[in-house]
């Protein structure tokens, strides 16, 4: 029986066991790295999905009002009428302390829940008793809490009226309660419940909703409504259901009958009514009209003045007599008080609406067009809005108007007016004029009035089911799908580990090349025989391909299984020593056929292509008419490339000296090319003429040189491996993100600021003012140089490198960029161009246009977190649910703002008006007093849950991620090199096989075996030295900028590596 091709292949593979085993192992290594990387990526994403599912529990769709609240009745109505399995939650931020140890946890998520919450989550047995709280294991572990311990909880109190709204009553910044820990919840009992998209385990406190409500008679307000998984339920369907179920009261609108004028008006619990809502109501009831009533500080005419009066700006449609522009109607009482006649000019003063307690008084003159008697529509006390600190007051002196009231200026007659007429406005102007003066970010009206002929029931009927939730601060989020998508689009660990394992893959490919070459060389005479027997080249190629291919397939198959183990190992390392890269220890190793099969396929294709090329080349050489002997290497081309690479390297080095801005990149390129030069130089040394018989060279040395000059690759490849490995480890160490002087400069990542402060309870005082500083006792002389830049914050999903998920709604910071411009703070990696803008920070001051503003973020956040670039538009939702287009104007170089989108302060206040005070400080001053500043701020703002850290510590936390990746790269690089060197063992064996005759000759001519051993030892020592020099020198050039700033070179690691190589070589 004649053996077929398959039979020959099988027999050959069985016969050449050792070379086959080498090839199988090398391909298996290659396949294991590829499959392991792919499976790791898959596992990370699967873990993120699992974590998201665990955090969300049964909540599939979220209805959120952001910083606002809505009536729990809406949740109940949805549950009862639409049969939605839902539960309402009030989510608030706060911090907590163990009462006995005073140890605290900042940025705590406090969920005020009804008993139905745990039922909703499928944890029927969990109950929180009144006066008790449940904490999750993370908090319990952090604070050492157990059942029965007392816990101080301080949180940001929610309310209908935004804290910064005009005339909002002054409230304490946050509220504290002391509760007992009733239960510690594990992940299975929803302890890690979170509505954020992040793999980080949250720090949660669950509290009974009833325990957090101050006024038990008021409707219970919530800000999150969770809707459970239901296959047929989509976010769109929930939106429709919500819209149909929504009533004006759900949005805090109350219908008030008007005694004086007849008809009704709608008032908002927020006092001011937003334009979008006015528009919606107008769409349903065109006859409706908004009005605004404001508190003036003073009316003055000539020498007389009257303090604290309400003025109404009325719509012409309902008040046809109202004059336009700067004409004013005043009532008889005011006219008599100030002795005003028709046609006189009256000056009105008022506080312009602003946050941060900045009191800016404005004044304007009006012409008295008419004086009206205190009767009918002109004596309408209902025109005064429900300013909570004013409305219920018995006297003017009791007012809590949110602004300073000068009690001394209040006269007896003013008190008498208040007693008799309450807040009845004393003056009237047109709505258009009034809204221009007092319209603010919270809305342009304090009420919407309807004509007399429209009844209350009709108003409610026409509005119910017709108000768009999305335009009124309610967002419907497909929580489940969004978080799964965020996980699917998360940091691609497959590519990352393939990149990090580049050296290992490269080592495997080089080894494969050696193994295949050796294998083919060993079959040289056989191939010649096949040719001689008349086999076609194609058939021989097929035979060789079938042989090598089947061996490779075996390697791929084994490697795929090894890849599973590799992935498990990587996941374990990510959960432990490499946790810095993933910020969690909850990753799990998942198995899926897809990445394993893909890894197998990639490895198979890669080795297949490689084998085809290698075999074709080999056959081409062996085929007739081609030279079948080894050719001496070309010195000419070596010299050309040598000189060329040196020149290019030098050119880049000179450029790096000239262009300091790009010094790091240019030095790296220069060093990398120098590495090529060093290898070529080594090769040229081996093959250069005159070297072989140079005087003083011993016979053994001469033989070595003769051999390596003829086969330079046998000495070049080990040097290449050693040099590349040392280069990789060196640059990895030198490029570790560490602190240097440049980071502390204003242009560095710290912006030149000393401290970054993060507070859970917003600070409402302006710390640039004397009174603001005094409120926190920051007026000590030693703090005189301390300057604070206050920044507002709107919560979102962390977009820094600490979050692996692909985030679409990052947290937003509102900052006044003028301070950054004047200080020259921070540097930009990229920016868009616009006429008139010289500094990218100036983009933040450009006013909004059609819901479009400019924003700035860290380049890293843009590239990795948000996957956008300058010029792109990031669409987020403003506080009231409107689409807010943020055009990315610039990308910051690595800075303390990582994770955030920065917008201008004015734009922030416009689109997120309900966000009170500021939550982030950047602090500067005398750097010798940094510790004093930090301790003082931590102490003075303790009630705000402020945590001050040095800006370099904050940057270091972000750098840890990069540094961990670099560590992984270093480990993989070293592993690749060690593997390469280990694999080179058989290459060296082949070298010495080649030289059998040479050694035999030496022995035959009387050389002692010791001398031959010394020859081999010397050769390897020279190769090792050449490798070290060729690696270190380019690495030094590559990392010169880092070395100049005393970067951390892993000398110990390098020495250990050299020792390992040394041991392996011998």
């Amino acid at each position: 029986m004649i053996p077929g091709l398959a039979g020959i292949v099988i027999k050959s593979v069985r016969f050449y066991k050792r070379p086959v085993l080498y090839q199988v192992l090398i391909v298996a290594l290659l396949s294991a790295v590829i499959t392991g990387s792919l499976l790791t990526g898959w596992s990370v994403r699967a873990s993120l999905k699992k974590t998201a599912a665990e955090h969300h529990g049964n909540a599939a769709i979220l209805i959120t009002s952001g910083t606002r609240t809505f009536d729990l009745a809406l949740a109940e109505r949805l549950r009862d009428s639409a049969k939605l399995n839902s539960t309402g939650v009030l989510e608030i931020n706060g911090f907590c302390q163990n009462l006995s140890t005073q140890k605290g946890v900042y940025n705590t998520h406090i969920f005020a829940v009804s008993p139905g919450f745990f039922r909703f989550q499928g944890c029927d047995t969990v109950r929180i008793n009144s006066g008790e709280v449940a904490v999750n294991e993370k908090i319990a572990n952090s604070l050492g809490l157990k059942k029965g311990d007392d816990l101080i909880i301080r949180f940001n109190e929610t309310g209908d009226i935004p804290a910064d709204a005009p005339f909002a009553p002054a409230k304490e910044e946050g509220r504290s309660v002391v509760m007992k820990v009733g239960i510690v919840l594990g992940p299975a009992a929803s302890g890690n419940f979170s509505l954020e998209i992040s793999q980080a385990v949250p720090e949660n406190i669950f509290i009974n909703l009833q325990d957090i409500i101050k006024d038990q008679t008021s409707p219970v307000k919530i800000n999150r409504l969770l809707v459970a998984n239901n296959n047929s339920l989509t976010a769109e369907a929930v939106y429709d259901i919500l819209k149909k179920a929504m009533q004006p009261s759900d949005l805090g609108l109350r219908l008030i009958p008007l005694r004086k004028t007849g008809g009704y008006e709608l008032r908002s619990d927020r006092t001011f009514i937003e334009s979008s809502l006015i528009g919606e109501i107008h769409d349903q009831i065109p006859a409706s009209a908004p009005l605004i009533t404001y508190l003036g500080n003073r009316f003055s005419c000539r020498t007389a003045s009257a303090p604290y009066s309400f003025i109404s700006a009325l719509p012409e449609s309902l008040y046809p007599e109202i004059p336009e522009g700067n004409d004013m109607i005043i009532n008889r009482w005011l006219a008599e008080d100030l002795a005003i006649n028709k046609g006189d000019t009256i000056e009105m003063a008022w506080y312009a609406p602003d946050s941060l307690s900045r009191l800016i008084e404005k004044k304007e003159n009006f012409c008295v067009k008419r004086i009206v008697d205190m009767e009918g529509i002109w004596a309408d006390s209902l025109l005064m809005p429900d300013f909570p600190g004013i409305s219920g007051s018995e006297s003017c002196s009791e007012w809590d108007a949110g602004v300073p009231v000068k009690l001394k200026e209040i006269r007896q007659k003013d008190e008498a007016y208040w007693n008799k007429f309450k807040g009845t406005p004393k003056a009237f102007i047109s709505y258009d004029k009034g809204t221009g003066l007092w319209g603010n970010n919270f809305g342009p009206a304090t009420a919407i009035r309807f004509p007399e002929d429209i009844g209350g029931a009709e108003i409610l009927e026409r509005l119910s089911g017709n108000l768009d939730p999305a335009k009124n601060g309610l967002r419907i989020i497909d929580l489940f799908n969004d978080s799964q998508t965020a996980a699917s689009e998360s940091v691609d660990f497959s590519t990352l580990f393939l990149s990090l394992g580049f050296f290992l893959i490269l080592a495997a490919v080089v080894l494969l090349s050696f193994a295949v070459t050796t294998y083919l060389e060993s079959k040289h005479s056989q191939i010649r025989t096949y040719f001689a027997l008349g086999f076609r080249t194609r058939w021989i190629g097929q035979l060789l391909m079938a042989e090598s291919g089947s061996i490779s397939l075996m390697g791929c198959f084994i490697g795929s299984f090894a890849g599973i183990l590799t992935s498990m190992l990587i996941i374990r390392l990510l959960n432990t020593v490499w946790q810095g890269a993933v910020q969690t220890n909850t990753l799990s190793a998942f198995f899926s056929l897809t990445p394993v099969f893909t890894g197998f396929l990639i490895s198979a294709v890669l080795t297949g292509v490689f084998l085809v090329l290698k075999i074709r080349l080999h056959l081409k050489k062996l085929n007739r008419g081609k030279k079948t002997f080894h050719s001496p290497p070309s010195r000419f081309w070596n010299l050309i490339f040598l000189v060329f690479s040196l020149m290019v390297s030098l050119a880049f080095f000179i450029l790096s000296v000239i262009n300091r801005d790009k010094e790091i990149l240019l030095c790296f390129v220069s060093g990398s090319i120098l590495l090529v030069f060093m290898i070529l130089l080594w090769r040229y040394y081996l093959i250069r003429p005159g070297n072989l018989l140079s005087p003083g060279t011993g016979i053994t040395g001469m033989l070595s040189k003769l051999y390596y000059s003829y086969y330079p690759s046998h000495a070049v490849v080990p040097v290449l491996f050693i040099a590349a490995g040392i280069f990789a480890v060196f640059i990895t160490g030198a490029n570790r993100m560490s602190f240097n002087g440049s980071q502390l400069k204003p242009s560095g990542g710290t912006g030149g600021f000393l401290l970054w402060c993060d507070n859970t309870i917003p600070v409402r005082s302006d710390l640039a003012t004397t009174t603001g500083r005094a409120a926190y006792a920051l007026d000590d002389a030693e703090l005189s140089e301390m300057r604070v830049v206050q920044i507002k914050r709107f919560a979102g999903d962390d977009a820094s490198c600490l979050n692996l998920n692909h985030v679409k709604a990052p947290p937003v910071l509102g900052a006044d960029p003028s301070e950054f411009i004047s200080r020259g703070s921070f540097s930009f990696a990229s920016a868009v161009k616009r006429d008139g803008v010289t500094n990218p920070w100036e983009f933040l001051s450009i006013p909004a246009s059609e819901n479009t503003i400019y924003g700035i973020a860290d380049q890293t956040v843009l590239e990795w977190g948000l996957k956008i670039k300058p010029g792109d538009t990031l669409i987020i939702r403003s506080e009231n649910g409107q689409r807010l287009n943020i055009i990315i104007a610039a990308g910051l170089k690595s800075s303390v703002f990582q994770g955030y989108i920065l917008i201008g302060l004015e734009n922030f206040k416009r689109y997120f008006p309900s966000v009170p005070g500021t939550s982030v400080f950047l602090v500067d001053g005398d750097k010798n007093l940094t510790d004093l500043y930090r301790n003082t701020l931590n102490e003075r703002f303790e009630n705000n849950g402020l945590r001050a850290e040095t800006t370099n510590d904050r940057l270091a936390a972000f750098n840890e991620v990069t540094n961990t990746y670099l560590s992984v790269f270093g480990v993989f690089g070293a592993l690749g090199m060690v593997t390469g060197i280990a694999g080179l063992g058989f290459v060296l064996l082949r070298n010495y096989n080649y030289r059998k005759r040479e050694f035999g000759l030496m022995l035959a001519t009387g050389f002692p075996i010791k001398r031959i051993r010394r020859l081999v030892f010397s050769e390897q020592l020279i190769i090792l030295s050449a490798g070290i020099i060729s690696g270190v020198l380019p690495a030094v050039i590559s990392t010169l900028p880092s070395l100049k700033s005393s970067a951390d070179i892993p000398w110990l690691y390098l020495v250990l590596m050299v020792i390992v190589i040394f041991v392996q070589e011998f």
Binding site: I2, Y16, A532, S631
Partner: protein, 220 residues
């Protein structure tokens, strides 16, 4: 049958090896080419077998110019007309003696019946050369002489017109060299195969009808 005209061949390292060489070989002819090492004997054999291409000159086989044959045509020429015997037997170590001998049948596209017939003829040759008992053995387990006889049978399996033997007794002891020489002569006389062999052995050359000396690139 085979004609080489003005064949020249040179190598970078060795310089001119064949210099305007011409040779005519008739069917059934036996020719020994002798010459010192490096004189170009192997190169000449390789050129005849189209394993190497001459720099210039013309090669005709049965009147056809075969010098510019492409790879497939060359392979077909070798498998149909040429049998090679090398100094080292070059049996494939992973195949048995029998499999090695039958291997050339795979190189030719032929019917199952033809292949079977050649297989039977191969067994006959194996018996004739005294290696039929070694059929299932691997080359590594047999002697050099046996391996060279197996290589001879392998070269004859496809019934070539020309047998090219490059130092066929070079690695054999005197007894085995004698046997090999006898076998080669028998194959020529019994099968009518044209025999061209390169050798240093006067004894072996003496068995051939013609002996030519290759020196300075020319045949004398």
């Amino acid at each position: 049958m085979l004609s080489l005209r003005n064949i020249s061949k040179s190598f970078i390292q060795r310089g001119l090896v064949l210099d305007n060489l011409s040779l005519d070989v008739s069917a059934g002819d036996t020719l020994a080419i002798m010459g010192p090492s490096g004189s170009g004997k192997t190169t000449l054999m390789n050129i005849i077998g189209l394993l190497e291409k001459p720099d210039s000159g013309m090669i005709t086989f049965l009147g056809n110019d075969i010098r510019n044959y492409n790879d497939d045509e060359s392979a077909l020429y070798r498998s149909s007309n040429i049998g090679f015997v090398f100094q080292d037997h070059l049996l494939l170590p992973h195949l048995t003696v029998r499999e090695n001998i039958l291997l050339p049948i795979l190189a030719l596209k032929q019917s199952r019946a033809e292949a079977q017939m050649k297989e039977e003829e191969a067994f006959t040759l194996m018996r004739k050369t005294g290696i039929s008992e070694l059929s299932a053995k691997y080359p590594g387990t047999i002697s050099g002489g046996e391996a060279q006889r197996a290589a001879l049978v392998r070269a004859l399996v496809n019934k070539p017109s020309i047998l090219l033997a490059d130092e066929p007794t070079g690695s054999l002891d005197a007894d085995n060299a004698e046997i090999m020489g006898e076998l080669l002569s028998e194959m020529n006389s019994e099968l009518g195969i044209t025999l061209i062999l390169a050798t240093h052995s006067d004894k072996l050359a003496g068995k051939m009808a013609r002996t030519m000396i290759l020196g300075h690139g020319k045949l004398i």
